[in-house]
Amino acid sequence: MAIELRDLTLGYDGHPAVHHLDGTFADGSLTAIVGPNGSGKSTLLKGITGILKPLGGSIERGKTPTRNIAYLPQSAEIDRSFPATVADLVALGHWRSRGLWGVITGTDYGAVREALEAVGLRGFEDRALDTLSGGQAQRALFARVMLQDADVILLDEPFTAIDEKTTADLIALMRRWHGEKRTVVAVLHDIHMVREVFPDALLMAREPVAWGSTAEALAPDNLLKARRMTEAWDEHAPWHEGHTHQHGRAA
């Protein structure tokens, strides 16, 4: 399903963080959102999932309820010291089909096991979350997204601070979702990876800079423009190009 943004403004406590965004994530598209820290990428995803209500404009999600959107928050927002197992975390993905008070059945656990296998975590069901590495935790979260079986998948910096092998595996999974005609949107910092994997890109710097095919959106003059706009409002805003391992304030 397509997601249409119409003059969308999003923010916190009345202060906009995303200004006047117009455009469409086409049905079945695979789009990367690129931009410096603080440019409103996470805010935009929260708006699309419905966590944040628009300050202005609107988001058209067709007839699909927001429950049909799978959202993977930036990893820093998950409390990994929480006393839960990998299976507990992944099983949350059943939410849409089971609802608030639904009983998780034996088949559901079968599905959890299968999803874990698909992300390369066979046999990790009973491991405590705080014993996982960052890469393993991210794999588990991808397994949860699989269980959600949603038409729209939103991933916020899924590969930040993740090792190369894991990144490659998870990109393959993302391509599979794309092949299944789901609409996939991911926030990324690695511009080379975006050029390689993503047909479409949205370049943000608080205001949208460019949105379209990756080659055009990430053309050198657009990147330069984004860099200038960023410098204009914050001289020190970190701007990544290529591989990054540092990671700004988690939002």
């Binding site: 429950r67 959107i69 927002e77 006393p83 975390l89 608030l100 890469g135 949860r144 959600q148």
Partner: protein, 290 residues
């Protein structure tokens, strides 16, 4: 004196002892899991603040009806809820964070409560309200405690899954369901409910002890949520029993004795628990690879 007489005798011989035991055990049963969730949500001090917030409500009940259970309980419950909601509202409407507004409200509440109780009662009444009288639980009080525990445990079972999700990954819950806010409010209501349930026996200031200390101690022993709740309940029940025993033989006040036993178990767990100081220092922890 044989062992049976020593460990069981007081509770068989004296009605006030057996009623105290039943009351304290039921409070522990109900409050400990709530404490576990408070701890996991990093809201440990919220319980303490809410305990103070109950006081003016209980004070109004006392002014109107004297040392009667129902008016004081209802008043306390209402006051606790109002403070919880106001603190949440202030943080939403202004730049002040919830912890600060909560602190402000509970300090106002505490002063107001002490003032109200003193208006009509003696300092003995005040001590009664602040520190409870587990040895003077009558049947009405036991029924009240039982009702509180029943409501609390059933509600907790009902909101278990969303509450679990809300603690682990709040943004995920918000993305799949609008229930997060409601669940948060129900949970706060359960905190208040358990504190008013405990306040007859332990007083407003110590009731929070049977909520937080067992939970904090359990964290040093087990990892899983269900196990944490069970171990915390066990520690709460043991503290109640041992505390009453100490109180009986050493002629010390029962409420503080119960909480001190829970405190001792906490300190012991901190030292020798599976995940306590000694074991994690002698055996270095597994390192996380980011």
């Amino acid at each position: 004196m044989n062992l049976f007489d020593f460990f069981v005798g007081p509770f068989v011989t004296y009605g006030f002892m057996s009623r105290a035991l039943v009351g304290a055990v039921v409070i522990a049963l109900s409050a400990a899991p709530v404490g576990v969730f408070l701890m996991l949500r990093r809201m440990s001090l919220t319980g303490d603040a809410m305990a103070h917030a109950i006081l003016p409500g209980a004070g109004v009940g006392f002014l109107l009806a004297g040392l009667e259970i129902l008016p004081m309980t209802l008043g306390g419950f209402a006051a606790g809820l109002i403070v919880a909601l106001l603190a949440g509202l202030v943080s939403r409407l202004t730049i002040q964070r919830e912890d600060t507004s909560l602190a402000a409200f509970y300090l106002i509440s505490l002063a107001l409560g002490v003032m109200l109780v003193s208006l009509r009662g003696s300092s003995v009444d005040l001590m009664h309200v602040l520190f409870g009288t587990v040895l003077a639980l009558n049947n009405d009080a036991l029924i009240m405690i039982g009702a509180v525990a029943t409501i609390s445990l059933v509600s907790l079972a009902l909101i278990w899954r969303p509450l679990f999700a809300e603690c682990l990954d709040p943004n995920f819950l918000r993305s799949v369901s609008g229930a997060g806010q409601a669940v948060h409010l129900i949970f706060l209501a359960l905190v208040v409910l358990n504190l008013v349930g405990g306040f007859q026996a332990l007083g407003t200031l110590l009731a929070v002890g049977l909520m937080m200390l067992p939970a904090a101690a359990a964290r040093f022993w087990v990892k899983r949520l269900e196990a944490l709740c069970l171990v915390a309940i066990g520690i709460g029940v043991a503290s109640s029993y041992l505390g009453l025993l100490f109180s009986y033989y050493l002629s010390v006040p029962s409420g503080p004795a119960i909480i001190l036993v829970a405190g001792a178990i906490y300190l012991l767990s901190l030292l020798v628990g599976n995940r306590g100081v000694i074991r994690t220092r002698l055996v270095p922890p597994r390192h996380r690879i980011a």
